[in-house]
Amino acid sequence: MTSSAIAVSGLRKAYKDKVVLDGIDLDVPAGTIFSLLGPNGAGKTTTVNVLTTLVKADAGTVRVAGHDVATQAKAVRAAIGVTGQFAAVDELLTGQENLRLMVDLSPVPARDGKRVVTELLERFDLVESAQKPVSTYSGGMRRKLDLAMTLVGNPRIIFLDEPTTGLDPRSRRTMWSIIRDLVADGVTIFLTTQYLEEADQLADRIAVLDQGRLVAQGTPDDLKRQIPGTHVRLRFTTVAELDAAARVLGDSTRDDEALALRIPSDGGTRSLRALLDRLDEYAISAEGLSVQTPDLDDVFLALTGRTTEVAAK
């Protein structure tokens, strides 16, 4: 198993009598992106904390870069980089000074320090604000600086705890492309997220965490096979219309409470036109139509029979 960057088996962790992680097993091959998907309170951060030597597990074995996190923490730390859930940047220092601080604390030789800092500032598009205190940075800039600081010393395994939560769509895409570049260089990424789309876009393998247990694990395609795919949702004003539509559309799921009908579809224009033509043919009109792609809620509903809101409690 030399190609495993991260190997976890039977990991358990409780705070007092609250069980937070209840027997986690996972394996991340080197050079791949692994995504841990879960709602608030699922135990994502706790998992990252154990894997990065910050918190001791109650039971189970965790090997990162071939070293045991409990007994060889130092060797693990030398191999990893961690970007926590909340940007851990020094507000009073400038962007450049933050990076310099990381260089001074890492094994990077002092003479290379300047070059490393400049390269990272350029790569993360932070050159213009490099001399400004971080307290003046936007959330997206902080996140980028945070990740840049993690990259000092070229760690081979990187942990990212919800790297895009709170970012606007554009910054999110920037972050995604940075992550893809890292993997192209052979880095292993362990990423947590609340967004199915993010896991789908980035990960080679996804594990779904629910109340401290993995309820599903596999490639994005494996996972999507288990959950309702993209579908069209039609809303009606009367039960009679809903009944009529359900009769003519065949393969559909009704939601009587919302007077809505859910029809599997690829969301393309051709299949939408066919659907609309069929409704026209029977002179049925819907009050509204939307094309929906599955999100974390659908995953949870499908895998656990509960929505994320219940899971968070």
């Binding site: 910050l54 961690v82 926590g84 940047v89 507000e91 220092l93 601080l101 604390l105 094994p107």
Partner: protein, 249 residues
């Protein structure tokens, strides 16, 4: 890289913080001076302490100045903890010693600046100590020791507290304690209950030691409990800080 050079990197970071956030130092330096002016001008004549009030109060106010500096230390340590900066250092294998001593040393140096300013103003107000050079050195030693002890305790409080606000709040008792000691009013002038408290609380022997040294008449009877308290506080603070640093993530 060795722990020693990490300590220097950390200390440099703490100094940058102080230089860029001067309000906290300003507070630590200015508040004791304001309190001194208040007590000397408003109440100075009301207390009959046997000597010039400024000579009586200055040693106590020096201690107060140490305590006033602690609030900003607690807040700074806590924001490092809650913002994940300490976790970042831990994952980089920066030693506990380097991270925490940086804060303690910065705290002691802030104390020394505050006390230098305070003593300067005291001289302007007619402070007339009869201390020899050796006594002065002893007084500085006591202050550094106290700053060091209180600094460790404050670092522990800062690591332990849930938020920077609670960390600041947790240091308030330390700031208040000198008022309930012989710092400003002799203990025997206080009401029952408070008097016993003032006589036995740690700051009283420390203040009396300082007072003795500055009057050129140091007394071992005060110095021994004073040193014992300082060592005890430092030890508790250090051990508490150490275990919180290791455990909390």
């Amino acid at each position: 890289m060795s722990t020693k050079s990490h300590s220097i990197v950390m200390l440099r970071r703490n100094f940058k913080h102080i230089a860029r956030n001067p309000t906290s130092v300003f507070n630590a330096v200015l508040m004791p001076i304001v309190i001194m002016l208040m007590f000397v001008y408003m109440f100075g004549d009301a207390f009959n302490v046997g000597v010039d009030y400024i000579d009586y109060a200055t040693p106590g106010l020096m201690l107060l100045a140490v305590c006033y500096g602690l609030g900003s230390t607690a807040t700074a340590v806590n924001s490092d903890m809650t913002k994940g900066i300490i976790n970042r250092f831990k994952v980089m294998h920066v030693s506990r010693g380097a991270v925490l001593t940086g804060h303690v040393i910065a705290s002691v140096l802030t104390n020394l600046v505050a006390i230098a300013a305070l003593v300067g103003v005291a001289f302007l107000l007619g402070f007339d100590p009869s201390a020899s050079l050796l006594d002065w050195l002893g007084a500085i030693g006591v202050i550094v020791l106290l700053g060091f002890a209180a600094g460790w305790l404050t670092v522990a409080l800062g690591l332990f507290a849930k938020s920077p606000e609670t960390a600041g709040l947790a240091s308030v008792p330390l700031v208040m304690l000198p008022f309930f000691s012989s710092a400003i009013v002799p203990a025997d002038k206080m009401g029952p209950g408070l008097r016993e408290f003032a006589e036995y609380q740690p700051f009283t022997p420390i203040i009396e030691t300082l007072r003795g040294l500055l009057n050129g008449a140091p007394s071992a009877g005060d110095a021994i409990p004073a040193l014992a308290w300082c060592v005890g506080i430092a030890l508790v603070g250090y051990l508490w800080a150490r275990s919180t640093f290791t455990k909390r993530a």
